[in-house]
Symmetry: C2
Subunit: 347 residues, 2 copies
DNA sequence: CTGTTAGCGCCTTCAG
DNA sequence: CTGAAGGCGCTAACAG
């Protein structure tokens, strides 16, 4: 008599169905071979209507849950997307991720999240771990990666989206906007409106700093040589924003416009300004940076540069799904999602 | 001559190392058996210092990335934690998740995220899909689950944390606070301070409604029979908050205190109040609900009930890790994370 | 401390 | 449309 495996013994022993069911169990119960059961679930078009129905019913009654680890191993398709961001705890990112996940879930993909804290080294470590899960696609934030990360991604041979930024030397697809253009645009716009005294409160994050640098250098070109910049440590919180304005004003500066690297900082500035009885935007204009779906209805006096985060999330998802469906499409995709400036005027 | 597998043929064919390396390749190169290589990576204490070093070096030079699907399948340990929340796009949740993920990552676990949109049915569907990944643990939000979800979780036999709430009939562990207590506490506190005219602006989410109901019924017990409640559809945005206040005031009501089911709504109320030249908190006191690490420094006039979201996240992670390490500990763990009321007084 | 053997649960390939 | 055989890459269990 053939030796019985542990599973078979357990099944004989008791009525507990805790020993997780396998496709074989379902198949036996439905009177088909395992592979037919598999096809009934994954490639229904290859299976006779009636048998498929029978299998599906058995799955229901037995409460079978396919083991995706096994499936992934056998098919080298994991239906997993890895998403690496600086932090999930930031409205811009979480909004985009939400939209992205919604679409991916709908399409039958699951999302593995990792947070890099704005560090390329952390990204590398996370990436290595996550690539072990054999994801079908990867979403990264920005264009700053270690050499090792680039190599690993290349040899993984899966679609990669670099989000939130545009740059040369794309790994694969890029979906984002130019942070240099943002800085430039802000400078030009407000200069044209007659503003001459600018100040910046920025968190110490790579893209925020790039926006700031671009802004400052554009202002220089317009003849404004001196722009106060307060760089504050991450994370960008309300508290940090308040502190930023305090420091700015201590430095004997009386800017007409304070440009913040994020809405959160800007809200902190508003709060601090309120407690100093400064009127916004008459005494002090404040510019934030955030998600358009929020800024439009936020504090009435707050101007912002806004990105359409949900739309970006959706586009990222679509780009990946396109690639999953057809290896040749979307090659070298590069989408400029743009940004809009919403100015709140003095009354 | 033995038939060669696809892998072997590919390896012979060219120098591309794109055919992903396996542990066997590493083992061969290091002159040990596959299992020794495996142990060198996963259970270093079982392997001779020298051989371990040799294996690790080979891993480095070859750029080997372990296939976690295979590992998980063989060991039935996936090092994966599934986290299901209503939405990731909410500061309270994203803050908690961030802390949770940080701890889990540190311990070598990865996080699979899913968003349920406050729906138990969606939770069920997500859960089924995600359980196929054989996660080592699951974090759910709240205590409202479908019968099917409960069954599946039971037969999965893995640690489960129900977060953000406390209730009877726990699935396994609960880490959260009582929403009934929140409502009750607000009522008592402000009644004692002399407030008599209350109004509520709440999003249509289960826990927010429970806080509201508890508040209203506690007020009734204190003799306040009439409390205006504006229930607005999700998601809770700034815009919705503004709209909420507008509606409230249209209903000929002049509340002394507006209680909002979230900080975001409260900020909308503040914005709307500002545009109506209402002074906060003199003309109108506003109460939010959110994360303590934010509320403390937020808009100066905004009172809040606050939860320590990062701490909750950490506790959830620890609870799971404890279970992973020792199946017997943390049994029936039930942690009340509490909440604090921060009142902003009129000046 | 190291190796051998035998699967984990599923899907690919090829044959009916 | 359905099935049989074999292997995906790794590790548990046992032996040395």
């Amino acid at each position: 008599m053939a030796k019985k495996s542990k599973r078979e013994l357990a099944a004989l022993g008791s009525a507990t169905q805790d020993v997780s069911l396998t496709l074989a169990d379902v198949a036996k119960r439905a009177g088909v071979s395992p592979i037919t059961a598999s096809r009934a679930l994954n490639r229904p078009e290859l299976v006779n209507e009636a048998t498929r129905k029978r299998v599906l019913e058995t799955v229901q009654t037995l409460g079978y849950v396919p083991n995706l680890l096994a499936g992934g191993l056998a098919s080298s398709k994991s239906r997993l997307v890895a998403i690496l961001l600086p932090t999930i705890n930031h409205s811009l990112f979480s909004t985009a991720v939400q939209a992205m996940m919604d679409r991916l879930t709908e399409a039958g993909y699951q999302s593995l999240l990792g947070s890099t804290g704005y560090s390329a080294k952390k990204e590398e470590i996370l990436l290595e771990a996550i690539l072990g899960r054999r994801p079908d696609g990867v979403v990264l934030t920005g264009t700053l990666h270690t050499e090792s990360s680039r190599r690993r991604l290349a040899s993984a041979g899966i679609p990669v989206v670099e989000a939130w930024d545009l740059g040369d030397s794309a790994l694969d697809m890029q979906i984002g906007f130019s942070h240099e253009q943002v800085g430039q645009h802000i400078a030009q716009h407000f200069f044209a409106k007659g503003y001459r005294d600018f100040a910046v409160i920025t968190a110490d994050d790579p893209r925020g700093l790039r926006r700031t640098n671009s802004l400052v250098s554009q202002l220089k070109q317009l003849g404004i040589t001196h722009t106060l910049v307060e760089t504050l440590p991450l994370p960008a919180t309300w508290q940090v924003g308040r502190e930023g304005l305090r420091r700015l004003l201590k430095r004997n500066s009386r800017p007409q416009l304070v440009i913040c690297s994020s809405d959160i900082l800007a809200l902190g500035v508003l709060a601090e300004a309120a407690s100093m009885n400064l009127h916004i935007p008459d005494d002090l204009a404040v510019l934030g940076f955030g998600n358009i779906t929020e800024s439009e209805f936020a504090y009435p006096a707050l101007s912002t540069v806004s990105v359409n985060a949900p739309e970006m999330g959706r586009q990222i998802a679509e780009a990946l799904l396109g690639r999953f469906a057809d290896k040749t499409c979307n090659l070298k995709l590069r989408v400029d999602t743009g940004f809009t400036l919403l100015e709140r005027f003095s009354t």
